[in-house]
């Protein structure tokens, strides 16, 4: 199987640089408490990234991620608040995410609306809907301990979110590299026409990735709410851009067809590490959004440079039967 190591190596190098800077300028960064906290953030971000990976790998995009995150998080929190217990609450969050993802999937595959338009539309429908359903926004506090354990607890010294993330990452990696279902995702993203000719149901695959994204967001939002101990409707504000940043920086091509779980994990680490480093180095945290934008651009430019050096053309042309592309 083809594995693209070059992007993973670049991220690892960046990670190394940031860690080195921190070691020199802010050694307190490496206190176990802080590292544990950072690890939890990385874990949750990685889960979000997994969902984005699935969608982008098929050549689509989902800008309603933030809204889905918010709705499923609130749904789960409400369930927990009503005393349904952690398992049921998690299930409800996941189910909500899956259903919302399915809506996106239907719009894109059955109604054949380009994913950018479909998800821009659902982003506002979902977020508007959330505020409406919660009567202008809500703020749930004081969630039960068995629920918040999901975000704050630990098993054998490792925080629960990290455990979740590890399990999910391992499962995803296995699925994406060792099962036909997973490989179909990359096949469709790489050349949908060829995939169809080979008997793959491209629509089903694309639709499924939106559902997968919804599920991932449901899990991630539950972990976040549990960790914070409270839920509010603006939960998902920064999630969309975060998801895309992690995916793109993690080596997922926006044209579809490439991507790896390892890349996602490394990218999540880089993003969270940098965010955290900003605070420790006493830099203004307000720069973090800018920084994410910069990351994406840097990753894109880097991938262009790498491809130029490898002699590959930017967009695979001329020998593959695919659909037309535009500027």
């Amino acid at each position: 199987m083809y594995r693209d190591r070059s992007s993973q190596i670049s991220i690892a190098v960046f990670l190394g640089i940031v860690l080195a800077v921190l070691a020199l300028l802010a050694p307190r960064f490496f206190d176990p408490a802080n590292l544990g906290d950072l690890g939890t953030s990385v874990a949750i971000t990685a889960v979000v990234g997994l969902g984005a990976l699935a969608v982008i790998a098929t050549g689509n995009i989902d800008v309603s991620a933030g809204a889905i995150f918010a709705i499923s998080g609130v749904a789960g929190a409400s369930a927990a608040d009503a005393g349904l217990g952690p398992v049921a609450s998690l299930a409800i969050a996941v189910l909500t995410g899956a259903v919302l993802g399915a809506v996106n999937g239907v719009l894109v595959t059955l109604l054949q609306i380009p994913s950018i338009i479909a998800t821009l539309g659902t982003a506002s429908v979902f977020s508007g809907g959330l505020i409406f359903l919660t009567d202008g926004g809500l703020w749930i506090v004081g969630l039960p301990k068995d629920y918040t354990w999901l975000g704050q607890g630990s098993v054998l010294g490792v925080s629960v979110p990290i455990l979740f993330a590890v399990v999910l990452c391992v499962l995803s990696a296995l699925l994406l590299t060792q099962t036909p279902a997973g490989r179909r995702i990359f096949a469709v993203g790489s050349n949908a026409e060829a995939a169809r000719l080979a008997g793959i149901n491209a629509k089903l695959v694309e639709g499924a990735t939106f559902v997968i994204n919804g599920i991932a967001l449901g899990i991630a939002s539950t972990l976040t709410v549990a960790r914070l101990g409270q839920a509010q409707t603006n939960l998902g504000d920064a999630i969309t851009i975060l998801a895309i940043t992690v995916a793109v920086v993690g080596g997922t091509s926006v044209f579809g067809g490439t991507g790896s779980v390892l890349g996602i994990v490394l990218a999540a680490a880089l993003v969270e590490l940098t965010r955290s480093a900003l605070t420790f180095l006493h830099l203004d945290p307000l720069w973090s959004e800018s920084l994410q934008g910069l990351f994406i651009l840097a990753a894109l430019v880097l991938s262009v440079v790498q491809r130029r050096r490898a002699g590959r053309r930017l967009r695979p042309t001329s020998i593959f039967r695919t659909e037309a592309s535009r500027a």
Binding site: M1, Y2, R3, D4, L174, Q178, T179, P180, R183, R184, F186, A187, G189, S190, N191, E193, A194, A195, R196, L197, A198, G199, I200, S253, G256, G257, T258, A310, R312, P316, S318, I319, F320, R321
Partner: protein, 514 residues
């Protein structure tokens, strides 16, 4: 030589091999927007036989293959598989029936590995997971048999076109197809690779597969074909056992028609040198090209697709990089940008009208005047009436029909679209025309008009470089013909050359001198 192919071919197809065919196409016709691509074609495939399908570009081979592959539906005729009538509604239906087609455009996923592409859509499973090691072993065995050295873990998109095609062929064989169709595989393989491919095809044939082999390389044909079918102008021109015929016969069947008819040329004295190329190279596409073009002459460029003719023309037009050598237009060396070249008097007509030429849903006015908008601009705004008048005048001069400038160009027939496109190229008043496939997909009437137009322009001093896969056109219009093969010019023919000779040089697979 001008036999009516239609009547005799039916009997010929039957006479050559009377046993029941695996796949029988009878009376197949296909038209696209009024242009007949195929008329009443018979094509029978027998198990354990290699059938070479030959014909010039445009003879209908691709269309026939696409019908067998389920990518097109025939307008008439029937298809029988093992004696039962079938309809292949889509490519998947055809491939489920055991038909595998390897096109020149690779139908593989560029981001996946070679190994994975071999098993695209059909990964071997071991329980829930993919059996990578089994797949790898099978693939390695296959590659060893095929003498292919492609690393299995390499990204397919990094491979050359030739190598990617090999993978696709391997994939078809791996899936155990009953009917294997190869669309000009030889054009991208080197001799060793070709030999192993032939061995493999022979093995497959012996195992009962029906192989269809489309090629231009005639010695290939006689190396592996059992039977030869020649298409010409959309009909079956001839069918014969390979053992009973020879190369000259094949060429005659392919070319067949009276060349003189469509191509009256007024004799012109060549004038000054308009274009001079010395040792011009454009990367891998073409190398060491020497060429001199004078006003009032037409130089034809013959060769197969991939020989470098397009790239050479585009390089002159500033659209393809020039990596070494010299190019002088008139007396000067002109900057290598398309607009500088256009200003220097070069007019370029792209070979792919639909993809590279027309703006399909924009009006004729817009299409024709795109390059000369400045002429109608006053105070920054386009005077629409002047623009329309100019477009109308151009349409009248070139005979574009219907004479409605507000129509979207996509609504016109191929011939009229082409005339409109030529009008655009002429609008910048070039002194040198680079014409790629000027009459491809154009009906006979428009063909004649376009040829007369070219002749008239040349008589007034235009210099023309004609790139055409239509051999009679090339031979009929050109004052001299340069033959390109694998990026180099391998020969030159004066006016009046025999098409077979030109073709022979273009199609030969003798290695080109370094």
């Amino acid at each position: 030589m001008l036999t009516d192919p239609k009547s005799s071919a039916h009997e010929e197809v039957e006479a050559v091999n009377p046993t029941h065919p695996v796949l029988a196409l009878s009376g197949i016709s296909k038209s696209f927007a009024g242009v007949h691509a195929l008329r009443d074609v018979d094509f029978h495939l027998h198990a354990g036989e290699v059938n070479a399908l030959l014909g010039e570009n445009g003879a209908g081979k691709s269309t026939l293959i696409k019908i067998i592959a389920g990518a097109h539906q025939p307008s008439g005729g029937r298809i029988e598989l093992d004696g039962e009538e079938v309809r292949f509604r889509n490519p998947h239906a055809a491939s489920s029936a055991g038909i595998a087609v390897v096109y020149q455009e690779t139908s593989l996923a560029p981001d996946l590995s070679v190994l994975e592409n071999l098993y695209l859509g059909a990964w071997t499973t071991r329980g829930v997971g993919i059996g990578w090691s089994t797949m790898r072993r099978e693939a390695q065995e296959l590659f060893a048999r095929l003498n292919m050295n492609i690393p299995l873990d390499m990204r397919l998109g990094s491979l050359s076109k030739a190598t990617a095609q090999q993978v696709e062929i391997a994939r078809a064989l791996l899936r155990g197809a009953r009917i294997l169709i190869l669309d000009e595989p030889g054009s991208v393989l080197n001799d060793t690779e070709l030999r192993s491919l032939h061995e493999l095809l022979t093995e497959s044939r012996d195992a009962g597969v029906a192989v269809v082999y489309i090629t231009h390389r005639l010695e290939e044909v006689f190396r592996i074909a059992d039977r030869i079918t020649v298409l010409r102008d959309g009909v079956t021109a001839a069918v014969a056992q390979a053992a009973e015929v020879d190369e000259p016969w094949v060429v005659r069947q392919m070319v067949g028609r009276d060349v003189e008819g469509l191509y009256a040329r007024t004799p012109v004295e060549p004038g000054e040198v308009v274009l001079r190329l010395e040792g011009l190279s454009g990367g891998d596409a073409f190398r060491d090209v020497d060429l001199t073009l004078r006003a009032g002459e037409i130089v034809g460029l013959a060769g197969l697709v991939g020989a470098g003719r397009s790239e050479l023309a585009q390089c002159i037009a500033g659209l393809h990089p020039q990596t070494s050598g010299r190019m002088r237009i008139g007396d000067a060396e002109v900057a290598a940008t398309p607009w500088a070249r256009q200003r220097a008097g070069i007019g370029y007509l792209p070979g792919d009208r639909g993809g590279q030429g027309i703006f399909s849903f924009r009006t004729l006015i817009s299409n024709i005047t795109l390059t000369t908008l400045g002429a109608f601009t006053r105070a920054g705004m386009i005077r629409r009436s002047a623009q329309r008048a100019a477009a109308l005048a151009a349409m009248e001069r070139l005979g574009v029909k219907p004479l409605l400038p507000e129509l979207a160009i996509g609504n016109l027939s191929g011939g009229n679209q082409q005339k409109a496109l030529i009008a655009r190229v002429l609008a910048t008043e070039p002194s040198l025309l680079l014409l790629e496939e000027p009459t491809s997909g154009v009906d006979i009437g428009a063909k004649e008009e376009i040829h007369n137009l070219i002749d008239a322009l040349v008589a007034e001093g235009m210099a023309v470089l004609l790139v055409s896969s239509d051999l009679p056109e090339l031979v009929g219009m050109s004052d001299r013909i340069l033959v390109m093969r694998e990026g180099r010019i391998v020969g030159e023919f004066p006016r009046g050359a025999e098409p077979e000779d030109v073709m022979g040089l273009a199609f030969s697979s003798a290695p080109v001198e370094a």
